[in-house]
C-alpha cells in the first residue's frame, strides 16, 4: 500500500538519496503555463513514489486528460523527505506548483500566510461538502478550505486478540486505568504488552500526544501552540500518566534501540506475535505483515482509551492524511482535476488499489478489510481531530516534543521537565 504516512515515516537513508536524485532532475523542469496551442499544462507534484500507487495515479492522470483533451498533466514525483525540503525552498522563493501534495497543518498555514495558496472554499463547495468531514480538518484554516483530501487516517492501538485472550482480557480497555490493568495482566501472563520503537522517538510521542488530548483537550493543544506555553498542569499530568505506564515496564527487551519497520523493530514484534500491541496509524497492518509475519484474523483495533477526569473524550482522534492544494491563481483545470480526484469513482479505485481510507462516504463499499473498516467507523464518529504534532507545529517544536517524550520514556526526564523543555523550545521559536 502506497500509504503516504507510511513512506513519510519509513525509510531514511536510501530512499532520501533516491529522492534527492529526483529533486535534482525535477529542478530542470520548465514552467507550467500553457502552450500556444490552446492546451493547458498543469503540474502535479506528489509523493507517491511507491507501487502500486505510482502507476494507479499515473493512469488516473491519463484518464483525466482523455476526458479533458485540452489539459495536459505533468506529474512530478518526489520521495517524502526530498519533497519536504524542496517545498520549503519553493515556499521561500514564492512560487508553488499548480497542484501539490499537502499534509495540512502548520506547513500549509505558512504557505497560506505567504499568500501562495488558492482558497478553495467557494470553488470546490459543490463536491467538497460531500466529503467525510474529518478528512477535511487538516486543510481548514480559519474556516477556509485550502486542500482536498484523498486519504485520512488515525492512530490507535493495534492488538493481538489471541494474546489478549491468553491474558484473560475479554474486551479492549476503554479507560486509561483499564488499559494499565490490561498491561499488568499481559505481564502476569508473561506476554510483552507493548512494542515500541524507542530509537525513532515519534512512536513514543503518539502516547504523549493522545494523553495530552485526553487530559488537556484538543483546544488546549492549539492554545498551547499559540501561546508557546505547554507548562500547564494538564500537560504535566499527561506526562505523569505516561510515566505510570512506563513504570510497569511494558515494552519489549531493548526497545530503546528498536526501529519501527526493520525485521527486529516495533512492527515486526507485533506482527510476529512477540508483543501484544502497538500504538500506530492505520498503515500498521501492512507494515506488521511486511516486517514480520502479520497477524491475520488475530489482529484487532481499539481507540486510545479515555483518561478519567480528563477534558477529552474517546471519540477524539489523533491522525492525519494526505491532500492536494493549489497554488494561488492556478488554472480552472486544476480545480477540475481536484474534483475528478475526489469523485466517487476515483476514490473507489484509490481505496481498492492503493489501500487508502475513503474520503467520499459512498466509496466506503470498496473497503473490505475488517480492521480498516473499524478505523473508518471511528473516523466517521469523530467528535474532534488533532493533526500529527510534527505537522501541526513548527519542525523544532515537533522534534523537541519527540525527544523530550523519548527522554521521559527512557527515564531521564520527569513529566514536569518534559513540559518545561517543550515550552522552552516553543518560546525560542516564536
Amino acid at each position: 500500500m502506497g500509504d503516504p504516512a507510511l513512506s513519510r515515516r519509513g525509510f531514511l537513508a536510501a530512499s532520501a538519496a533516491a529522492g534527492l536524485g529526483i529533486t535534482a532532475l525535477s529542478a530542470c523542469g520548465g514552467d507550467s503555463d500553457g502552450g500556444s496551442s490552446g492546451t493547458t499544462t498543469i503540474e502535479w507534484w506528489n509523493i507517491s513514489t511507491t507501487q502500486p500507487t505510482k502507476d494507479v495515479w499515473a493512469a488516473l492522470a491519463r484518464k483525466f486528460e482523455k476526458q479533458n483533451p485540452t489539459v495536459k498533466i505533468k506529474i512530478v514525483q518526489l520521495e517524502n523527505d526530498a519533497y519536504k525540503s524542496k517545498m520549503t525552498a519553493l515556499t521561500a522563493s514564492g512560487k508553488l506548483p499548480d497542484i501539490f501534495h499537502t499534509w495540512g497543518g502548520g506547513v500549509l498555514e505558512q504557505q497560506v500566510d505567504a499568500g501562495l495558496v488558492e482558497d478553495l472554499t467557494g470553488s470546490t463547495k459543490a463536491f467538497a461538502d460531500g466529503l467525510l468531514p474529518v478528512a477535511k480538518e487538516p486543510y481548514l484554516l480559519d474556516g477556509k478550505l485550502y486542500g482536498i483530501p484523498f486519504d485520512i487516517g488515525m492512530v490507535g492501538f493495534w492488538y493481538n486478540k489471541a494474546l489478549f485472550k491468553k491474558a484473560g482480557i475479554a474486551e479492549p480497555p476503554t479507560t486509561w486505568s483499564g488499559f494499565l490493568d490490561a498491561v499488568s495482566k499481559l505481564k502476569a501472563a508473561e506476554v510483552t504488552p507493548i512494542a515500541l520503537a524507542g530509537k525513532e522517538t515519534w512512536t513514543g510521542m503518539y502516547y504523549w500526544a493522545y494523553l495530552a488530548m485526553r487530559t488537556a483537550g484538543i483546544e488546549a493543544l492549539a492554545k498551547a501552540d499559540a501561546d508557546n506555553d505547554f507548562s500547564g498542569p494538564d500537560f504535566v499530568r499527561a506526562g505523569e500518566h505516561l510515566t505510570a505506564l512506563v513504570d510497569l515496564e511494558p515494552f519489549q527487551k531493548g526497545f530503546l534501540g528498536a526501529s519501527y519497520s526493520t525485521p527486529t523493530g516495533q512492527a515486526a514484534a507485533v506482527g510476529n506475535g512477540k508483543a501484544a500491541m502497538e500504538l500506530m496509524g492505520q498503515w500498521a497492518p501492512v507494515v506488521e505483515a511486511d516486517a514480520g509475519k502479520g497477524l491475520g484474523d488475530d489482529l484487532g483495533f481499539f481507540p486510545f482509551p479515555a483518561v478519567e477526569g480528563g477534558k477529552g473524550t474517546i471519540t477524539e482522534v489523533f491522525g492525519g492524511g494526505g491532500g492536494h492544494a493549489l497554488r494561488r491563481g492556478a488554472p480552472q483545470a486544476a480545480v477540475d482535476f481536484l474534483e475528478f480526484f475526489a469523485s466517487e469513482a476515483t476514490d473507489r479505485e484509490l481505496v481498492k488499489e492503493t489501500g487508502v481510507l475513503p474520503v467520499v462516504p459512498a466509496a466506503e463499499a470498496a473497503l473490505t478489510d475488517a480492521n480498516l473498516q473499524a478505523v473508518q467507523k471511528q473516523l466517521k464518529g469523530t467528535t474532534g481531530f488533532q493533526l500529527y504534532l510534527d505537522q501541526a507545529y513548527a519542525p523544532a517544536l515537533g522534534q523537541e516534543i519527540n525527544t523530550s517524550v523519548g527522554a521521559l520514556i527512557a527515564g531521564s526526564k520527569s513529566p514536569g521537565q518534559v513540559a518545561e523543555s517543550i515550552t522552552k523550545t516553543a518560546k525560542e521559536e516564536q
Binding site: 537513508a13 520549503t88 525552498a89 515556499t91 521561500a92 524507542g198 530509537k199 525513532e200 522517538t201 527487551k253 531493548g254 526497545f255 530503546l256 534501540g257 528498536a258 526501529s259 526493520t262 525485521p263 527486529t264 519542525p395 523544532a396 522534534q399 523537541e400 525527544t403 523519548g406 527522554a407 527512557a410 531521564s412 525560542e428
Partner: protein
C-alpha cells in the same frame, strides 16, 4: 648599496629607495613578473573553486552562527553570541564533547596498540599473512552505512547474532541490550569502530614497519639486543612518524564521527551516543534551526583546527619539516 647585494626575496617595491636598477636587474624583474603571472594563471581556477566550495561556505557558516535562522532566505534575525551561549549550556552538547574525548582516549589506548601489535605480528614470516592482511583490512573498505546496518542486526537485543552466540557458549550473562542500553551503547559503538578502523591503522603501521631498514635491526641483534629491546629502541622510534599520523587521523575521525552513529542509534538511546555531528544534523536538518546548527559546526571546526594546528606545530614538526605551519623561513 646596489640591489644585487641583497638577497633575492628582498627586492620588493619597498626597497625601491635604492638607486635606479641597472638594465640587467630590470630584465630579471620582468622575467620574474612573467613567471609570477604564469603561476597565478595556473592557480586561479583551483583557487576560485576552493574559495567558492570551501572557504565561502565556512565563512557563511560562521556568519550564520550569529543569527536565528531557519535555513531559507538570508539570515536577518541577529542574536549575537546567543547560539554559542546556548550551546555551552546544553547538556547534550557538553555530553557530545565528553563522548568525543572518550572515543579519542579509547582509540589511543586500545585501538592503536591493537593495530600496532597486529602489524608487528603480520610483519613476520607467517604462513598466509597476505590473506590475514587482506581480511583485517576488509572492514575498512565497507561503507559506514552498511557497517551500521550490519551491526545493528548483530547486536539486536535477544535475537541478534551476538546474543545467540553468547547463549550457545553459555555466556548469556555477557549479553545485554547493547545499543539499546544507555550504559552500554558507547562501549558497543567503540567495538564497532575498532572493528571498522583497526585494519586501516594496521596497514599504516605495516607500511611504516616495512620502511625500516633491516640492517638496523640486524645491527641491534648483533649487539645482543633482545626482541623487546629491538622493538623498543629500534622499531618504535623509527615508526614514530607513522604513529603520529595514525593518532592524528584517529582524533580527527572521532571529532567528526557521524555516519556510523546515525545509522545505528541516531544518537540514542536518549542522547547517550550522540556526537557533535549528530547534534548538528538534528538541529540543522530536522529542526531547521540552521543558525544554531551553524554554531555547532563552527565549534567543531574550531576544535579540529586548533587541534590540527597545534598537533602539526608541536608533534608533527619533525615529520613535516618546512611545511606551512613551521614559522621558520622557507630557505632553511
Amino acid at each position: 648599496m646596489a640591489s644585487t647585494f641583497l638577497p633575492d626575496k628582498r627586492t620588493g617595491p619597498e626597497t625601491d629607495l635604492s638607486p635606479p636598477p641597472t638594465s640587467a636587474a630590470r630584465g630579471r624583474r620582468r622575467r620574474r613578473a612573467r613567471h609570477w603571472l604564469t603561476a597565478v594563471g595556473f592557480q586561479v581556477p583551483a583557487l576560485v573553486l576552493f574559495g567558492v566550495l570551501v572557504l565561502l561556505p565556512i565563512l557563511f557558516a560562521v556568519y550564520a552562527a550569529f543569527f536565528r535562522w531557519g535555513g531559507f532566505g538570508m539570515p536577518s534575525d541577529f542574536v549575537g553570541g546567543d547560539n554559542f551561549v546556548r550551546l555551552f549550556q546544553d547538556p547534550v552538547f557538553l555530553g557530545d564533547l565528553w563522548r568525543c574525548f572518550l572515543l579519542v582516549a579509547l582509540s589511543l589506548v586500545l585501538q592503536l596498540p591493537f593495530a600496532l601489535a597486529l602489524a608487528v605480528a603480520l610483519n613476520q614470516r607467517v604462513r598466509g599473512r597476505a590473506v590475514y592482511r587482506m581480511l583485517f583490512f576488509a572492514p575498512y573498505v565497507l561503507s559506514e552505512a552498511i557497517t551500521g546496518v550490519l551491526f545493528a542486526m548483530i547486536f539486536a537485543p535477544g535475537e541478534g547474532l551476538a546474543d545467540e552466540l553468547l547463549g550457545k557458549v553459555g555466556l548469556e550473562g555477557l549479553g545485554g541490550e547493547w545499543f539499546a542500553d544507555p550504559d552500554m551503547v558507547m562501549a558497543t559503538l567503540f567495538l564497532v569502530m575498532t572493528w571498522k578502523y583497526f585494519g586501516f591503522h594496521m596497514m599504516l603501521h605495516l607500511a611504516g614497519l616495512q620502511s625500516i631498514p633491516k640492517e638496523l635491526t640486524e645491527a641491534a641483534l648483533i649487539d645482543g639486543a633482545g626482541p623487546w629491546q629491538r622493538f623498543r629502541n629500534v622499531t618504535l622510534p623509527l615508526l614514530a612518524p607513522t604513529l603520529r599520523i595514525s593518532i592524528f587521523l584517529s582524533v580527527i575521525g572521532a571529532i567528526q564521527l557521524f555516519d556510523l552513529v546515525w545509522v545505528i542509534t541516531q544518537g540514542g538511546p536518549d542522547h547517550h551516543s550522540e556526537t557533535m555531528a549528530v547534534t548538528m544534523f538534528q538541529y540543522g536538518f530536522k529542526r531547521y534551526q540552521v543558525g544554531y546548527a551553524s554554531a555547532i559546526s563552527v565549534v567543531m571546526f574550531g576544535i579540529s583546527l586548533v587541534f590540527a594546528l597545534a598537533y602539526q606545530r608541536f608533534v608533527l614538526r619533525r615529520d613535516l619539516e618546512g611545511a606551512t605551519t613551521t614559522m621558520r623561513g622557507g630557505g632553511k
